[in-house]
């Protein structure tokens, strides 16, 4: 091969250089996109919420508001809609309190290894329901779980369930008792409520729309 002029298609140097250039270009592009994405997924502020500025990831104080998940005609899929104020565990949380609560909730989510049974934003394990929009699930909002746990509000029902999950089975496959304390449970509910307000580009699609028609039925054998 040496000496004689060979076709570039069989030249190692050519392929090595091309590999380096392509890899470099892809890496630079990824970094550039990452900078843009970082800006777009940074948490919003309490002021944003007060002024009705929509952020993909809202401030922790979003727990003080009613959250909905509705079809957006322009975007062609469901998006979270932040509504009027709504007490959370009977009070309005200050920006500092809400931030502290969310942090505690996220830490607990990791410490209890939720992700190795559930999915969050669709990632994790497939042994239990997706938690992305759990806060908005009809199961909690149609009286089923508040009834079973004997609580008046969704947040109280969720906290009670998280503390003693195997006392409130809905199916043969149950959630185990993970030794979650009251404080941890409150924080976890805040984490879940916050997650339900994240703009996930319409995932899950058509969320629980048809499942609602099954309300009150005994489809789970």
């Amino acid at each position: 091969m040496s000496g004689k002029k060979v076709s570039v298609w069989t030249s190692i140097t050519f392929w090595r250089r091309s590999a380096a250039w392509v890899t470099g270009t892809a890496t630079v592009l990824l970094m550039w996109l990452t900078f843009n994405t970082m800006g777009q997924i940074a948490m919003g502020s309490d002021e944003d919420l007060q002024n009705g500025v929509t952020k993909r990831i809202p401030a922790p104080t979003v727990i003080n508001y009613k959250i909905d998940y509705k079809m957006d005609e322009k975007r062609g899929h469901e998006v979270p809609v932040i509504g009027e104020k709504q007490p959370f565990f009977g009070k309005e949380w200050s920006a500092e309190e809400a931030a502290e609560l969310l942090r505690h909730g996220k830490l607990t989510q990791q410490a209890k290894n939720c992700m190795n049974c559930h999915t969050l934003l669709g990632n994790g394990a497939y042994y239990a329901p997706d938690l992305t929009k759990a806060w908005l699930d009809p199961k909690w909002n149609d009286g089923t779980m508040t009834g079973i746990t004997g609580k008046d509000t969704v947040e109280e029902a969720m906290a009670e369930f998280l503390m003693h999950p195997s006392q409130y089975p809905t199916h043969e496959r149950m959630m185990p008792d993970l030794g979650i304390t009251r404080e941890e449970a409150v924080a976890l509910v805040a984490f879940l409520k916050h997650m339900s307000a994240i703009d996930t580009n319409g995932f899950p699609r058509n969320f629980s729309q048809s499942a609602k028609r099954l309300e009150g039925g005994t489809h789970a054998r």
Partner: protein, 485 residues
Amino acid sequence: MLASIKSNEFKYESQKLAMNYFRVAIVLFGAQLLMGLIAAIQFLYPSFLFEVFDFNVARMVHINALVVWMLYAMIGSVYMLLPDETGIEAVGIKLGKLAFWVLTAAVAVVVLVYIFVQVGPGNEATIWLINEGREYIEAPRWADIGIVVVVLVFYYNVFATYTKGNRTGIMTVLVADLFALAGLYLCGMFFTDNISMDQYWWWWVIHLWVEATWEVFVGSLAAYGLIKILGAKREIVEMWLWIEVLMLFGSGILGLGHHYFWIGTPEYWWEIGALFSALEPVPLVAMFVHVLYDWGKEQGHAEAGQQGHAVNNTPAMAWIAINAFGNFLGAGIWGFFHTLPQVNIYTHGTQFTAAHGHLAFFGAYATILIGMMYLGVQGAYGIKKMTMTFKTKMAIGLIVFGVLGMTVSLTVAGYEQVLVERADLGGGWDAYFIAQELPWYLQAQGWRLTMGLVTFTGFLFLVADLLTIGKTEAAKEEEVQAAAA
């Protein structure tokens, strides 16, 4: 393989160290399968070990053992090929041996804590000492730091040996690739209360490992294997390797976007993720063609008595060929199935994902790493031409059949989930459980467990084979020589 503590014909310490890495890897592989079986039983009988050894614990150990055994086998493979490629002993071999024992002690502690402590209170201490609660990289922070230190020692060894010895193309690719592979681990080592930010960086570790740096690593191993087993021509193999690097990184780096469709990240990832990840199967086809082409060509040359030699290690060659096809099938085909956002919105987070995860990890990585272990055994016994035994064939047959069976079962389960839970009922708690309790789903889970048991039986043959094939084959070769003399 254990017996090769005694029979050790290696010229280089580096290769003896490699065998230690392989030994731990195979033990962790066994642990992985047992944990998978526990989790699979729990799908069918939820009360099995309930509140004693829950699904999340079994699954955590299952996938963590998977990642760790593969990293062990990868480090082992590098120590195995390092002296062959560079022509010299690993530079810092003493340090390398120390690092092996430190890492193994750390892994043992981490696993014991996973099994006996399981979960902790919701504070920083749990994340530092018990587990980090993030899929695949659950290892607590103290272990993360330990891993980084050990990996630095390993990398120093590779880099210093490379600069001192022969700088082959394979080594150049490996040195660059391992740098990126190790660096990416750092992206998974911080806490944030923003779940979208968390998953954004978490995928840098997971995706940029398995769909970029690990793939290139496998390309390098296959290149080394073809030269070693078939006597393939280095110029041609290395040229292919650079083309593979080009295509793998060219598609895999931006293909990362296929995980950014629904986690809070902007819509432009739909187009970027779809376009680049749809290209990811292309290099996998190329790698498949390359391995089979070289195999046929070299075999032909050897049979015609022209040059090179026929396969001198049939078990290793078989596993490399299965790798070439398995990578294409598990990562390429099963990955492409769900990589477009239009499809992924329904399949995201269903058993379909698990089907792909199993076939891809097995096809792309488990296979070739097992092949490297056979190369190790051949070297340890100084065997010139190693051939398959009955056990080799049983191991291959049962493991491949078992994993394919599990994959097909999970694909059926995923299909049912997509149609019933997602498309018809639109997700949510009720939709989820209705889909979980339909007969199609339960039957599929039953078949997965059955096929898991088949896989495990194959694994037992594999271990038995690795422990005995060296001695058997060496004795056979001696007999032939004695007869000739």
